[in-house]
């Protein structure tokens, strides 16, 4: 594990992508394949099932460090990372020993082995490691114990490092890393096979992700070179219909089979094909996302739910047809095939996403104005001669979203962030005015600049009214503009309103609290736009 701890420290110490990639290549080159497989698994952002909850770990930490619970809690809030808090508080307890054993042994025995034990034995094992591992290894052990690493390495970076090491196209590595895999030595070795072997049956392709359009669409050239579609607000998905069966994958590469039976059923009528699209709650038109949420929250879908919130798969693209990879073909060709395949699919649960046509950008801009009434987020623009790429690559796919709704709200509570924002007050609760009182309307992580965060953090520390654990209530003095994508009634919120994707647009230092928005004004927005 020591080699991996060193790699982790190296990755953690730099912000330079090239340095990180070189460190990864150096590690993968010499690591035993069994270790390298686990390293890929963890660094690519996979999570192991958490074996011991954070509450339990904090309880054990208080006992092992001899510190009172509240002080462990305060320290954890200050450090912002439980794994790190443990390694810091346990550093002076017990004798440190050099770390031996491979990464695979550590994960498979020291971590996964806990599964078979009763709680008292689990605790004895964990505490023994806390007392003997040197700080960096102890930190890493706790990271593994809590299920995920997060070290500023994207999956793309892992793919690039492996591709460079194996002298293979990155797309091939990306394809081999997608979906579910077992982190074994065989798996790691097979990543570098030169032959295009038969990929696993239900294996998805990497998703192509669009980037926000930050300039005028005229900068993209002629409108005729682009396909425009509505930007739907559902669940992006890949639908695979192959001779072996039907598979449905989320953008986060979670298998979603069983969740949307009507889509799977309709897919059995499809030819052999892999489609990219969006799952939407739909009943003669798209339903508000709040309806979709009702479905997402259920693990098993009953008759009633199927009736009340039916869903469809709206297809955007064809990635594979009759076992041929179509991703390199131009979008125009893929779109023609898609139209042919789904012609007359009007009333089934797999349909085509309609194109939006106008003679020029101005015409599209006018149609885009209808977005909110149509319950879409704006337009998607896709270059007609582009291939289906993988990951977020700028240039061929743009999301041209409508301006978000905004309100001016008052900062009422603050709480420290985690990770890079540990020990900084960056998580805010914002409120609107209701007579002389304030009603919380949204929680938002700071979208302010680092300078503004520092300044507000400084102010928060000096203007705290009360502390509730990590949360501080504040003098109502600062007005922040929050932007959001939608507004819905919600019985679970005190205000009776839930905002979708609230974030801080800017700090209205020019606005006194008396001019912040009122609950009445927000209710007007709900009447206008609430689905």
């Amino acid at each position: 594990m020591q080699a991996f701890a060193n790699l982790y420290a190296e990755l953690d110490a730099t912000t330079r992508t090239q340095v990180k990639q070189d460190a990864l290549i150096d590690y993968f080159r010499v690591a035993p394949p069994g270790d390298a497989a686990w390293a890929v698994y963890m660094l690519a952002g996979r999570r192991m099932k958490r074996l011991i909850g954070p509450r339990k770990l904090r309880e054990w930490l208080a006992e092992a460090s001899g510190l009172p619970d509240w002080l462990v809690e305060e320290t954890y809030q200050h450090v912002g990372d439980l794994a790190e808090t443990i390694s810091l508080l346990m550093e002076d307890e017990g004798e440190r020993r050099a770390v031996d054993g491979s990464l695979a042994e550590w994960i498979e025995q020291a971590i996964l082995g806990l599964r078979k034990l009763e709680e008292p034995e689990q605790k004895a094992h964990v505490l023994a490691h806390w007392r003997s591992l040197p700080r960096p290894a102890c930190f890493l052990y706790n990271k593994l114990l809590t299920g995920s690493l997060r070290v500023g390495v994207s999956r793309g970076l892992v793919e690039r490092a492996l591709a460079a090491l194996g002298d293979l196209p990155r797309a091939l590595i990306a394809r081999r890393l997608i979906g579910e895999f077992e982190p074994t030595a065989e798996f790691f070795t097979a990543l570098f096979d030169q032959e295009q072997r038969e990929e696993r049956e239900g294996q998805p392709y990497p998703f192509f992700l669009a980037s926000p359009l930050e300039s005028e669409p005229e900068s993209l050239g002629a409108a005729q070179d682009w396909l425009a579609e509505w930007k739907w607000d559902g669940i992006r998905a890949q639908l695979i219909a192959r001779p072996g069966g039907v598979w449905l994958w989320s953008r986060g590469e979670e298998p979603m089979n069983g969740r949307f039976p009507e889509v799977e059923l309709a897919a059995t009528d499809l030819p052999e094909v892999v489609l990219d699209g969006e799952i939407l709650a739909w009943d003669s038109g798209v339903l508000p996302f709040s309806q979709m949420q009702r479905r997402i929250q259920r693990k098993t879908i009953g008759e009633k739910m199927l009736r009340e919130v039916p869903v469809i798969f709206l297809a955007y693209d064809v990635l594979e047809y009759q076992q041929q990879d179509w991703r390199e073909r131009p979008l125009g060709e893929r779109r023609a095939l898609l139209e042919e395949l789904l012609a007359g699919s009007g009333e089934t649960a797999v349909r085509i996403s309609p194109s939006v046509t106008a003679s020029d950008w101005h015409g599209l801009a006018q149609l885009r104005e209808e977005s909110r009434e149509r319950m879409v987020e704006g337009l998607m623009l896709k270059r007609l001669d582009s291939p289906y790429r993988s990951g977020r690559v700028r240039g061929d796919w743009w999301k041209w979203k409508i301006e978000p709704l905004t309100i001016d709200a008052v900062l009422l509570y603050a709480q420290p962030g985690h990770g890079r924002r540990a020990n900084l007050y960056t998580d805010y609760t914002l409120a609107v005015r209701d007579g002389d009182a304030f009603v919380p309307i949204a929680k938002a992580y700071s979208g302010l600049t680092d300078k503004e965060i520092q300044k507000l953090d400084h102010w928060i520390r000096r203007n705290t009214v009360e502390k509730f654990g990590p949360v501080r209530s504040l003098k109502p003095e600062h007005v922040l503009e929050i932007a959001f994508e939608g507004i819905q009634p919600s019985p679970r919120h005190k205000s009776g309103i839930a905002l979708r994707f609230p974030r801080i647009a800017r700090w209205r230092q020019d606005k006194p609290v008396a001019e912040a928005d009122t609950l009445e004004q927000v209710k007007d927005l709900l009447r206008l736009y609430g689905g």
């Binding site: 953690d12 110490a13 550093e91 990770g419 502390k467």
Partner: protein, 331 residues
Amino acid sequence: MHDPLVIPTDEGLYCPAGNFHIDPWRPVATAVITHAHADHARSGHQLYYAQHLSVPILRHRLGEHEFIGLAYGEQRRFGPITLSLHSAGHVLGSAQVRVAHDDGRVWVVSGDYKRDADPTCAPFEVVPCDTLITEATFALPCYRWPPVEEVGQQIWDWWSGNPDRPCVLFTYAFGKAQRVLAALTAHTDRTVYLHGAMVALTGLYRDADVAMLPTQAVSELPRSESMNGKLILAPPSAAGSPWMRRYKNASTGFASGWMRIRGNRRRRGYDQGFELSDHADWPALLNTIRDCGASTVLTTHGRSDDLVRYLREHEGIDARALTTLYGGEDD
């Protein structure tokens, strides 16, 4: 019940019986200064008392004022009060202020202090007292400093391991920079290059016979001179400023107690963080409070609330937080 010997006022900590202030932040007649950091030593007072090694630094930072330099342990009378200064181990000339009343009560104002080894200043002296007014900058149990030799070794490994790039180490100009220069004498006799803000202060340390690596101002080097493989010390305010243009491919580091926390390291974007602090860590705070035997502890800047609660609930000490304007975030 006696009146307290030291109270917080709008001007700063004040001793009514002796009619003097300690580290006041507004102009007063008589100011006793614990050390020359900006949040403790401000200009505009009529008369300053400070440890005599602190006086040249105060003069450098505040300009000409009336200064009276005291040796550690030297006593002065202010009415019924006997005042003396005792080493705080924080920076050159740093002092705790002992305030002893003729009725037998003894209060100590710690100022900033540390218990770790530091060849650039006198070691901390334990001063028995009834009431201790202590700093609490790093009063959480996650703060325990590694031995300074270990940190010196890390800085040296970083410097010597980067022969093809300049190494820019950000440290506070007064105290920390000189401590780094002293710690590195164990590894090399190479010259270290200084940002302009550090040149005069480092000279004052040399005047006080503190052994450090040879230094030269960056500004004295010709523009054409390669900075690769050189160590440059600069104050944190120089990070991201036009001054950095000369060190395009530099590896950067920051020496501070805050660097013990990974989130702080990553947020600041330095390549290296070195855990080096001139403040007391958690064990040092507790040990100091126990060593001096105080039955009452008042806390100033930092994690005051946590220290107060801990002392009350687990050490059986009457503890309270004082509100002061000391920064405490700097280290």
